[in-house]
Subunit: 336 residues, 2 copies
DNA sequence: CTGTTAGCGCTTTCAC
DNA sequence: GTGAAAGCGCTAACAG
């Protein structure tokens, strides 16, 4: 493998000069520079980045850490992150912890040391041990979601509470629903708990009582949503509309409702959260809370680079990204 | 940042001994080792991987290079790759070329030099320049799909031709279709051209003539599929079934057919390719060719590690992964 | 079993 | 403007 010495020898200069020429150092005679660049090209020379990293203590790599690779949400977020990283000339390391909590912490510790210049964290929640690690971190970190749980860390995310609250209020006030069921996500999941709170608060503020029988956990999965929905449909008294805390569970509801031979939205309405690709294609189109997923990734990356590039200690920032409504055919039409 | 010297000093040994202890070199007294490990832990020491990489000339990182991040296919493949990489203690670098051909080549060149131990390539096709680069490559490389176009490189992929051929033969012989339309993918896309060939061969072998008016390009996208399908539906003589070369275009067909107020499968059948998540949720469920996407990623990673870990020059390998059928409600039922 | 020494390939003072 | 030399943090002979 051709290295800086080879180029120096060929060009009859010292390796220092080669290094300068390659790094656009102004204090090098233009003709010398041209000559060096020419020879470098001829020799097909490219600097060894590892050696460079060792001395500059920078890697130009950021890590994206998450529990599990796959799915719509992941691929959208990473698209946003990638876009910004690419423009900043950074490489993206994707590190899944494969659902094992411990591995996750190991990964982080490993990353803390060196190898990456910054970390984007996308986790359903953080263990105390993890918070500890993050608290005395040296590497810039941005967490996606979770501003409430770890105020010491930069976060980027949507307002789960507000997004849900608005949607539920809309269902009640504009569509006239008064009997609302809830299929919630895992209790350890930060998003899930926030969404549930938004749901409950909206009911309360509108003087609607919450029926505990109509609140079931669906594990954020299609199957979980299907099972939860089936249980609700088996009750004597059913809600008029089910709010599923994510679109996957809403899709599960469609399955359950179909198998009960009921109609959406006439017999029962379904509302989701996330506005995933799928939600536009199921019949009827799903009413859901729009989450600008790509933007989350983008903003997270931007915030991270801001941290990386700033000399001084920057203060912690929390970027909120606003949600929106998608009104599909899975809810009854606007009351006149 | 604490380094190997600090540990050596504390432990009253040389840095060499510390290095040995940390790398499980047997030739180090158990008690010395224990002592060193203890001190390393106390000092919160972790080896600087960059320094290690510089000397070992290994990074424990593989790169996954693709044109654009996002979508179902991407996220499934990467899941498979990640799984295997994780088990092999490797990190995964995701490098999108952001659809710019040049950038892609730059990226590769950059990677060739150092920084990664191996590369998984997922590209619609390869430019001559790229083939050149790959031909005299030093880094192990596995390409996803494309065995025909670049025999010199390890590949992993499905048999696009066979998968299509079987499906079309099934449509003709078992379902009794004789008028088949084709919405093909971009001509520069390797998968797309192979699928088209499989389609044409199946028609030919079954003595069915191919109507050129029924063959339209749909760009592998939902919108492209919708437009292409609309054009077909506007013809005086229409096919009985449309084979879309991927599921996204098939989903586009659904939209077009809906807007023409036609029924699937009574008025016209739709068949896709890929068996993406979405295909199970659209109504009616899509008849499509199943592609074990996660397996492709897994096999690609396995093959790559085989290359990385083998001392001698290994011969080029081409792993074929078999496809299957998913019979949904978008085609008429089996003829009696 | 352990220490000494020489680099890995590069950047960066410090002289000239 | 350019070269010599030091050294980033580590591993790997080579001695002992």
């Amino acid at each position: 493998m051709v290295n800086i010495k080879d180029v120096a020898k060929q060009a009859n200069v010292s390796i220092a000069t080669v290094s300068r020429a390659l790094n656009n150092n102004k204090s090098v005679l233009p003709e010398t520079k041209q000559k060096i660049l020419k020879i470098a090209k001829e020799l097909n020379y490219t600097p060894n980045l590892i050696a460079r990293n060792l001395i500059t203590q920078k890697t130009n790599v950021i890590a994206f850490i998450l529990p599990e690779v796959g799915g719509d949400y992941f691929s959208e977020i990473i698209r946003g992150v990638d876009e910004v990283a690419f423009n900043s000339n950074y490489q993206l390391l994707v590190a899944s912890s494969h659902s094992q909590r411990n591995t996750m912490e190991t990964t982080l510790k490993f990353l803390e040391k060196s190898r990456v210049d910054g970390i984007i964290l996308m986790l359903p929640s953080l263990s105390d041990q993890m918070k500890d690690i993050l608290a005395n971190h040296t590497t810039p970190i941005v967490a996606i979601n979770g501003e409430g749980e770890f105020p010491a860390i930069n976060t980027v995310g949507i307002d789960n509470f507000q997004g849900t609250y608005s949607m539920i209020s809309f269902l009640i006030n504009s569509l006239g629903y008064s009997k609302l069921g809830l299929i919630k996500g895992p209790s350890y999941n930060y998003d899930a708990t926030k969404r549930r709170k938004g749901f409950l608060k909206a009911l309360k503020d509108n003087n609607i009582s919450h029926n505990e029988d109509w609140e079931i956990e669906g594990g954020f999965s299609v199957t979980g949503g299907e099972l939860a929905c089936s249980r609700i449909l088996s009750l004597n008294e059913k809600p008029e509309v089910i709010f599923a805390c994510n679109d996957m569970m809403a899709a599960g509801c469609y399955k359950a409702i179909q198998s009960f031979n009921l109609n959406i939205p006439d017999d029962i309405g379904v509302v989701g959260f996330d506005h995933v690709f799928l939600s536009e294609f199921i019949t009827p189109k799903l009413t859901t809370v729009h989450v600008p997923t790509v933007d989350i990734g983008r903003e997270a990356a931007k915030l991270l680079f801001k941290q990386i590039n700033s000399e001084e200690e920057t203060s912690v920032e929390h970027t909120k990204i606003s949600t929106g409504f998608i009104i599909g055919g899975s809810t009854k039409s606007q009351k006149k």
